[in-house]
Amino acid sequence: MAFDYFLLIMWGFCGVLQVTAAYNELYGLRIFAKRWKGYFAGTVITVSAFIWFFTSGNRTIEGHITGVQGAEQVGLILAGVVVSIVITALSVSILHLRSKPKLIKPGYGLEQIRNATFLQALFCIIKRKD
C-alpha cells in the first residue's frame, strides 16, 4: 500500500508538473511545446494516477493496518514529489539534448529553466566556472 501511494503521488505530480510548466512557461519542465497539449496531457496523467490507485485495490483500510498513517503519508508525498521532479527534469533534458538553448546568462533559480533545460542550465554554470 505504501508503495502504491508513493506511485500515486509520483505519477500524479508528473501530470501536475506538465500543467504548471505549461501555465508558467517553464521550458525545463515541459515535455510538450504547445500549451494546450501540456494542460491536456497533465490532466490525463494526474486523473489516470488517481483512477489506477482507487481501482487497483481496496483503499478503505485503517492506517495502522496498511502502514500508511499520518506521518508516513507526509513522507511518501514528499518522496513522490521529489522523484517526480527528478524524472521530469531528466526526461525533458534528454528529450531536448540536441536542441540549442536560448541565450541564457549563467545563474541560479527557476528563472533559468524558463529558456533552458536543467542540464543546459547546469552546463551554463560549469562553463562559466571553467
Binding site: Y5, L8, I9, G12, F13, V16, L17, V19, T20, A21, Y23, N24, L26, G28, L29, T46, F50, F53, F54, R59, T60, I61, E62, G63, H64, V68, G70, A71, Q73, V74, I77, V81, I85, Y108, G109, L110, E111, Q112, I113, F118, A121, L122
Partner: protein, 199 residues
Amino acid sequence: MLSLDHKLLLWIAGLAGRFATLDWLVKYLANDFLVPAAMALIGAGLWFTGKTKDERRQNQWGFIYAIVGLGFSALLVQIINDHYFRARPYVNFPQLLPQVQRLFYEPTVSSFPSFPAAVTFAFAFGIWLENKRIGGLLFCMAALMSLARVYIGIHYPSDILVGAAIGVAVAFIFSWILRLILKPVVNLVLLIFERFFLA
C-alpha cells in the same frame, strides 16, 4: 436530551443511504488518501507557479507554512488523542454502524479532535496566507472531506470543528514564527533550492 452536536450528527449521518450517488461520492471524499493527495499535489504544484519571481516566492512561502503547520498540527492532535479518548459516533449510536461498514472502515483511534480535519485545514490555511484563490479551493476540499466523515458517522461535528480550529491556529502560530523569527533559515533553504534551479 441529545446535545446539539449529537442532533447535528444524526441529521447529517441520517442522509446516508438515501441517494446512491451521494453515498458513492462521500465514500471517496472521506477516504484517507484522495483529498490529502489531491491537496498535496495542488500545494506542491504551487511551488512552481508565479508570473514573476516575487509571486512565485510568495507561493513557496505559502507551501512552507502549509507543510510546517500540517506537521505540528498532526503532532498536537496525536498527543491529544493519546491522552484523551472519545469513542466514535457509531459506538454510541449503533444504528450508524451499517453505513460505516458499507462506506468506510471502523476506526479504532480517538474521535476527538479529528486528525484529518486538523491537517487538511492547517495545510489549506498555510497556502491561504499567501494565495487566497488556491487557499480557498483547498479550504473547500478540507471542508468536504470533514463533512463526508460526519455523513458516514465516524466523526462528531465537534471533532471536526475543534480539529479544524487546531489546524488553523497551529498553522497561524508557526507561520508567524517562520516569518518573524526563522526567516533567515527559510531564506537559506530557499537559496539551497535555488542552487538546484528549484526555487
